[in-house]
């Protein structure tokens, strides 16, 4: 087992990114678009995003997405990080898992300014084993593995 003190993160406004990949599927170029530029891609007659070669776009080597953002290019919460949303908390999970985060509705979480977050037993028991999280008590996350 390992223990990690929880750290709160805040989601920033979504980013809009055009990715250009080589023929092996590796990203070789990322171009940040404005929201207006991204939304324009869905309008009639629109073509490639600004900065993306027409041939790359039409051949399928490039595509664009609206993506989540925690700052400095961070797309996912790391293990030990959490985010408070309107109706739930999201906890980061280790990489290479089915999901990169675990959502827990607020009614299953007790919040103490003194000690931090604690999940109810019912919520903890309901966690899938693959999450690798054993408990979250008084702001400390304990994993099932070392």
């Amino acid at each position: 087992m390992a223990t990690i003190t929880l750290k709160q993160k805040s989601r920033l406004a979504d980013q809009f990114i055009a990715y250009v990949r080589n023929k092996q599927g590796k990203v070789i170029k990322s171009i940040e678009l404005t929201e207006a530029e991204y939304r324009a891609l869905g309008e009639k007659g629109s073509g490639a995003p600004p900065g993306v070669d027409k041939d790359d776009w039409e051949s399928g080597l490039a595509f664009a997405a609206q993506v989540r953002h925690y700052g400095n290019g961070q797309r996912f919460l790391a293990l030990g990080e959490y985010e408070e949303l309107a109706d739930r908390f999201e906890f980061g999970l280790p990489e290479k898992l089915r999901s990169r985060h675990l959502s827990v509705m607020k009614e299953k979480v007790s919040v103490s300014k003194a000690t931090g977050l604690t999940l109810t037993k019912a919520a903890a028991d309901a966690w899938p084993e693959w999450s690798k999280i054993a408990t979250i008590v008084d702001g400390v996350l304990t994993t099932l593995e070392t």
Binding site: D14, I17, Y19, G25, Y38, L41, G42, E43, K44, G45, S46, G47, A48, W57, E58, G60, F63, A64, A65, Q66, V67, R68, H69, R75, F76, K96, L97, R98, S99, R100, H101, S103, P128
Partner: protein, 251 residues
Amino acid sequence: MALAIAGTPTKGYATAASSVTFAHTATGDGLFVGSGGYGDPARTTSSVTFNGDSLTELWDINDTYWGNFSNAGYLMCAPDTGSSYNVVVTMSGTMDMLMAGAVGISGLASPVGSAHGTIYTDQDSASVTVVDSEADNLVIDTFVTYQPSVTVGASQTSQNEYDSPEDSGHSFGISTEPASGANTVMSWNTADAPKCIGATALIAAAGGGETYNVTDWAGFRVGDSPALYMPTLTATQDGATIDLTWTMPDD
């Protein structure tokens, strides 16, 4: 008119994404867009558009068995052709992984409501049986799983496939199979893992309805019968001369 794949299928994906956009050139009279991914249970597909026009939802599975999969199929009749246009798949929230693909179809019935049969889905299987398929249908499916790769069933053709992009562990595919009758089985080979599949039979446009310009005819009257018989017509279609002939009964 037989159903067939038209043009080249295209695809796009992104991690931590609520929307993905990619180009597609439509050449047929139908466009199918499938998507699959993994996120929160509450995630559904908000919209799928091609060149700004909305596709019609066939299925949008908000998986409750494994808790987090999405799997959707959308269809459009008479997509804009002649150029490359953008496919936009938008979810109700952020997915850890969002994958989508577009497949052009020729010979499709119209409108969308008459272009497909019953929708079949399964939230815990790599296989689904399209019970009401008929000969001349083209069955199409989308499949998503938590496995590093997938292989399409032996009798199907994989039209679009992602095997664990970004090393995410999630894979996705769209496949087709010409139906020979009822009970067309659509399946993917994958290890036991969370998975979700959706499928339906696409229906061909009815035959006939072609336009000919009649330029000559040959007919005769039999005895005193007032009926006029026309065993042959000569016509043109798209500039080519065609003889339209039918057999008269021997009486």
